[in-house]
């Protein structure tokens, strides 16, 4: 379970103070597929960064499986991210001048996975996204859809418990995007990880079991299963 408790994130000081997130209160149960939906600038990415420990909230706390991130040292958060989480980005962020193998290998190297299992696991991940034939091809030779599949392979190679995807179809045409989405949901079923997708695509959001709607740094509505009271109701209670 990923719990956000009263998260506020502000940038700047004084006159230029900007509140990117305001009193976010939400819980995403384990193995759920959750969509964070909102317009550009509504704070979706910021929320995702805070959830993953990449960014620190100005106020509030993130609790993942009963562990408060604020109590962890940077080293422990790094370890946490390298073993239990992974990311998929809108702009893929695959290393163009490296081979597919080297790209997918990166999380294994970071998590210090023993050398013996590496190739097998990379192959597994690549065949899960149907790229096993490209294993030794330069990533620069891949099409956009293939690049995102490569990024997905990189995201699943470490068997993470949580996958964060920040607008994974944002840079793809609708047919390719559709394929990527299907792939993501299939993988979610087979590996059983929690999947958090940031998107402004309603169609994609509709497939998720949980939908978190955001506007101007606040949660306006939560649909789907959530044991927590909605953010709005809690907020009104406190005011």
């Amino acid at each position: 379970m990923i719990e956000l408790k009263d998260i506020t994130k502000t940038y700047g000081k004084g006159d230029s103070l900007f509140t990117a997130l305001y009193k976010i209160d939400v819980a995403i149960p384990t193995t759920t597929t959750a969509a964070i939906i909102g317009k550009s600038g509504s704070g979706k990415s910021t929320m995702m960064h805070i959830m993953s420990g990449l960014d620190r909230p100005s106020e509030g706390d993130v609790i993942i499986n009963d562990k408060a991130l604020s109590e962890l040292k940077p080293r422990q958060i790094d370890k946490f991210r390298s073993t239990e989480m992974s990311f998929i980005f809108q702009a893929f962020f695959v290393e163009a001048n490296q081979t597919c193998y080297q790209n997918v290998m990166l999380p294994l190297e970071i998590a210090k996975v023993g050398r013996r299992n590496r190739r097998k696991r990379v192959l597994e991940a690549l065949s899960a996204v149907d790229l096993e034939e490209k294993i030794d091809a330069q990533a620069s030779k891949l099409s956009g859809g293939q690049k995102q599949r490569l990024a997905i392979a990189r995201a699943i190679v470490n068997k993470p418990k949580i996958i964060f995807a920040d607008e994974p179809t944002g840079n793809l045409d609708s047919t390719t995007g559709e394929l990527i989405i299907k792939l993501l949901f299939n993988l979610h079923k087979s590996i059983g990880a929690t999947l958090v997708i940031v998107t402004h695509d309603e169609e994609l959001a509709a497939r998720c079991s949980m939908r978190i709607y955001m506007k101007d740094g606040e949660i306006t509505r939560i649909e789907g299963k959530s044991k927590q009271p909605t953010a709005t109701s809690k907020k009104t209670r406190r005011v």
């Binding site: 390298s82 990166l106 190297e109």
Partner: protein, 445 residues
């Protein structure tokens, strides 16, 4: 991340920017090239000096002089006060100078110094000529044979002790004096002419002086000296004889002059001289009685000193090149960090530790240093090895000596130092990479 993964990733990112890497490495390569050659030349010079010393000097002996200038000391630009002990001396360059000499009385004083085992005068007698019946005459120089010396022989043997009118003849004289072979020469005699100094008084013509005032002596050839592998330059054709025979020749040629029984230098054997303390003790005592004593170590230091100065200059140039390359590395590494902002952000997002990211870039810098060092040292080694025989011949060091001596350990240490310097140069850029904010780095809009 495992160290090996970091090293590999660092190497890979360099390969993706080959031209930049190579150009940066070239600056270090220039430094490594100069430094490798300098070190090799320094080794060569050192071993050359050591060879000369080992063949020509006994480490338990001191060279003692009455005049500092003989040992290259003193101030040649200031007038020296004259005393009765001065006699003329010819320097290597041919200049005739007056130097203060050691007399028999002086030698007695030195012998009386505690710790002195024995004293032998360094005698070099100018011969008028060497010849054999029905053969041409050749000029020559006869020196007293230092008992510890073990020259390479091609025939005969050196009697122990070498006494009387026996001579060790350099190989070059064999054919000149008409011997059919070196073996045939052993045991034969040669004729040596020594010129008496012109008698004072009656005026003479030049030719009279030559004809009338020569003393002729017969010497038996005990052994034939091989062409010396290492010898003090200019002494290659010296003939050697016993101390007393050299003495006699010298007395004849100097009788009545200021150089009679007066020596520019003497060799003082120190009792238990393998102990450096004894050497120093005797050295100081000899100084106390007004003479100058130089140990073999001093001689070595003096000879090496000139070499060191030249080396210092080349090393300085090498270091300047290395210094310049530091800026190159810093610049290259900053560019690399900038170019790979995304990648760094991604690695951080995936949980790579700050420390590991910093290290990744320091390894990259280390690779550049290693590459530059290896290229420079490799080129120096290759070029040096190829040209060494030619250079050595040109410089005329004599057989058995090399101008350049490459020592793998030394080159290894040099490259290691260059790698460390490169890592230090990569420090700031690597810190920048480690401190990079992943969210900033991954921002797309």
């Amino acid at each position: 991340m495992f160290l090996s993964d970091q090293i590999r990733r660092a190497g890979r990112s360099l390969r993706s920017a080959k031209a930049r890497t190579l150009l940066t490495a070239m600056a270090i390569a220039v430094g490594a090239f100069a430094l490798t050659l300098t070190l090799a030349a320094s080794n060569g010079a050192q071993s050359f000096v050591n060879n000369i010393i080992a063949k020509n000097f006994d480490p338990t002996e001191l060279i003692v002089v009455a005049d500092q200038t003989v040992l290259g000391g003193g101030d040649a630009s200031k007038p020296t006060e004259y005393s009765g002990n001065f006699g003329s001396s010819v320097s290597n360059s041919g200049a005739v100078t007056q130097v203060k000499r050691l007399t028999d009385d002086d030698i007695k004083k030195v012998k009386a110094v505690p710790g002195v085992e024995s004293v032998r005068e360094d005698i070099t007698a100018n011969l008028q000529y060497i010849t054999r019946p029905d053969q041409k005459k050749f000029v020559g120089t006869m020196q007293s044979f230092p008992p510890f010396q073990q020259p390479d022989l091609i025939a005969g043997s050196i009697p122990k002790p070498l006494i009387g009118k026996q001579v060790l003849l350099p190989e070059a004289y064999i054919a000149a004096l008409g011997f059919p072979s070196v073996e045939a020469a052993v045991g034969k005699t040669i004729t040596v002419g020594v010129q008496k100094p012109p008698a004072t008084g009656a005026p003479q013509t030049f030719s009279q002086a030559i004809v009338q005032d020569s003393v002729v002596q017969e010497f038996t050839i005990a052994a034939i000296l091989k062409k010396p592998t290492t010898s003090q330059p200019g002494t290659e054709l010296y003939l050697f004889t016993s101390q007393e025979a050299a003495h006699e020749l010298n007395d004849i040629s100097t009788l009545g002059t200021a150089n009679y029984r007066a020596y520019t230098d003497i060799f003082v054997k120190v009792a238990d001289g393998n102990n450096a303390q004894n050497i120093t003790a005797v050295q100081n005592k000899i100084k106390d009685i007004g003479f100058y004593a130089q140990s073999v170590k001093d001689t070595q230091a003096f000879l090496t000193q000139i070499i060191s100065v030249l080396q210092g200059i080349v090393i300085a140039f090498g270091l300047i090149a290395v210094l310049a390359s530091i800026f190159g590395i810093v610049n290259t590494m900053y560019i690399s960090v900038l170019q790979r902002t995304r990648e760094i952000g991604l690695m951080k997002a995936l949980g790579m530790r700050k420390r590991d990211i910093g290290r990744l870039f320091r390894f990259e810098a280390a690779w550049i240093g290693l590459l530059g060092g290896a290229i420079g040292a490799g080129l120096a080694f290759g070029l040096g090895t190829a040209l060494n025989p030619w250079i050595t011949a040109k410089v005329n060091l004599g057989a058995g000596n090399s101008l350049l001596i490459f020592q793998p350990l030394q080159i290894g240490i040099l490259i290691l130092i260059l790698v460390i310097i490169s890592i230090l140069a990569g420090w700031l850029p690597s810190r920048k990479a480690a401190k990079l904010d992943p969210i900033e780095a991954l921002r797309t809009e």
